[in-house]
Amino acid sequence: MFDTLSDRLTATFRTLRGKGRLSDADIDETLREIRIALLEADVSLSVVREFVAAVREQARTEEVSKALNPAQQIVKIVNDELVSILGGETRLLRFAKKPPTVIMLAGLQGSGKTTLAGKLAVWLKSQGHTPMLVAADLQRPNAVTQLQVVAQQAGVAAYAPQPGNGVGDPVEVARQAKEVAAHHLHDVVIVDTAGRLGVDTELMQQAADIKAAVDPDEVLFVVDAMIGQDAVNTAKAFADGVGFDGVVLTKLDGDARGGAALSIARVIGKPIMFASNGEKLADFDVFHPDRMAGRILDMGDVLTLIEQAERHLDREESQKAASKLLGLGGGEFGLQDFLGQMQAVRRMGPLSKVFGMLPGMGQMREQIDAIDEREIDRIEAIIFSMTPAERANVSILNGSRRARIAKGAGVQVSDVNNLVNRFVEARKMMQSMGGMMGAGPGGPKKGRTTPAAKKKGRGVSGNPAKRNQAAQPVQPAVTVPDPTAFGAGGMPTSEAELAEAMKGFQLPPEMQQFLNPKNKGPR
């Protein structure tokens, strides 16, 4: 159940409440949790050990043990440490003074080199370069054809003089490619090599020969984000056998936590330069160390969420809906607004993915995974079956209207009732929060504490999950990153501050309860 490091640490610290300060034993316990969290994220063991030792040093300081919320403090230390390792040395591609610049790709089989060659070509092309792809993978059946197709999709040239399938000398191909590129005025040459295992000395020698033949300006080691403990061995083998200058992490669009990134950055000391996160040629980006750190710790990815939201949501529309929902004027929040917002969220991807990006959702992972998009379709169908007047004001829904809606949407009347009741309750709750937040200068403080106070009033729940939530230390920020955002207080002036504020973000406890299927809500 405790998937995220935050959750684990919170659970650990719960037992320590009231002690006032952390003993060494407490710290050891904490570090054990960190160790497991990192190992489960596929960070290699030797790196975990070093890392934990470094964190131990920092965790012993006064500030942490005296802090009100040591769990958050330690998470912050861990996070900062991760970011500093991952982003220790970021840099962009070095281009040759005299073109062509040669970029060579190397990696295990199936790490995504050929696809990456295409992505890199598209990226370089968009920056005004004229890349040429070179098919030096003559091993795998039809790898050459694949590269040609990729080049065609990317709209760049491909140099593939050999048919592949085990025929031809990749070293010779690479050597010729450089001359061909110079002749045809291509300023970047991307050499796609065959996948090879770190233990295969023969093929490693071949890679080294290719490198010697073309004298690349950058050798990029392409590694799959899903790789496990073997990442370090493999990276070492490539570093020794071929030598590389940078790392590209692929398949980041999966849900692997990508601890390998940390291992490689730490052990080999080469920067991670790019991240590839999708199957299309445009799904390629420079590497963001802070996001990777959050991912390894499974802390959610608010920044990506915000970026997605910016692309998919209509700002004014959302703003209007927000003020309506929070009761700050602009009319009542109706089902039409709800539908609009829900559709906007769905444009950002499957709901489970959107939820997953929120921090603090680890506890609810199973419920999130169980989200059935078709149920959401059904909800949409119910709303679609309502007249505009009904959507604006659900209180006019009488029995006959409900029966009509149920028929129109192909559901039972009870489903309609359910939706309407939940909607009204949720709206009421949001409005009461909105009221607190909009209450002026004194508001923010009140806004922080009230939800938790309300919780305590309910007594200890029989549901352990709920009990855990109730016992959680009061988290700052209810639904907004910083309550001052709505009040008269100061605005966060920079993105950094905002990101800081978002780190403490948690779903309000009420919301967390809603997501718990075991919780029998009021009917």
Partner: protein, 385 residues
Amino acid sequence: MNPVYWLAIAAAVIVVVVAAVLVVRSRGKALPPVEERQVLPPAAPARPTEPGELESQAPAEVAEPSTTTLDIPEAPASRLVRLRRRLAGSQNALARGLADLLSQDRIDAATWDDFETTLITSDLGVGPATELTTRLRQRLAVDGVVDPATAHAVLRQELIALVGPDLDRTVHTAGGQGPDGEDLPGVVLVVGVNGTGKTTTVGKLARVLVAEGRTVMLGAADTFRAAATEQLTTWGERVGVETVRGAEGADPASVAYTAVAAGRDSGVDVVLVDTAGRLHTKTGLMDELGKVKRVIEKVAPVTEVLLVLDATTGQNGLTQARTFAEVVDVTGIVLTKLDGSAKGGIVVQVQRELGVPVKLIGLGEGVDDLAPFDPAQFVDGVLGD
């Protein structure tokens, strides 16, 4: 009560939160000059699957088997011997390292710590590693013997127990009979995430079956990745096996259907269907995979669904296996790339949690480097016996 309603409402709340953030952000931006932000490329939407009936699809063409000289696949027996030797000689020193540890004169806490460490570095996962260590420790303590030979034997037993010796590991390729009494081919569907070696596995498996004297047909339902169908066709041509292929971007379900139907009509024993690699997080692609299986079953039941896992995969392998099992009911695992330095320990967790046995292992780039998985032999292989 249905939690989905709450989720939907929560979704709206999240939008509102995000909207609030956006507002704050836009105001914040107006104050100081904010540095340029890198914009992520849009998240990949699901590949479009063509709607509509199968009949309306462009008919998949059947590649003519090449008339050039065919390879003769290695006979099963000699292959096994060779592969066992390879396994023992590979870098797969996991168990040997363990055995070395246990061969020490005195086994103290530090030794056990190293022992657990070695297990963890094989991607076994923290839980199973700790469990195995504790169990071994207890058994050795109870027996009161610490001589290397006993320790070695106990280790062998525990390792075999860990990989589950009593699971059914045969690859089911025997087809049944259709409702009209006609013979149906066995259908093997090969699935997995990108780059684990699905196409290669299909190619190798075809060779194994041909070597066993079965007739085989390949279905290239990977219509997405550039040149995947050509890759499979090349594999097929080498052993004279026909490959049914569709146009690039065609509906994989239609290609799979055509392949299995063609297999039935021409009376082959087994149809192997290769699918495109897909990350288990992409709902649309997983739905597409579900469709492939459903559509195949209109012709003949799928006798085996093989999930291909890469030995280098870490803890994410479990999530992968779980998701694939939900969608297509995986019946066996193929562990590829075992000839490298990775140990593929994740399959232990997969096997334990999902009850899906490892059936085949891939041990190299050679065309005949695919072996059936036998727990005892496997453990002996890695122990170097």
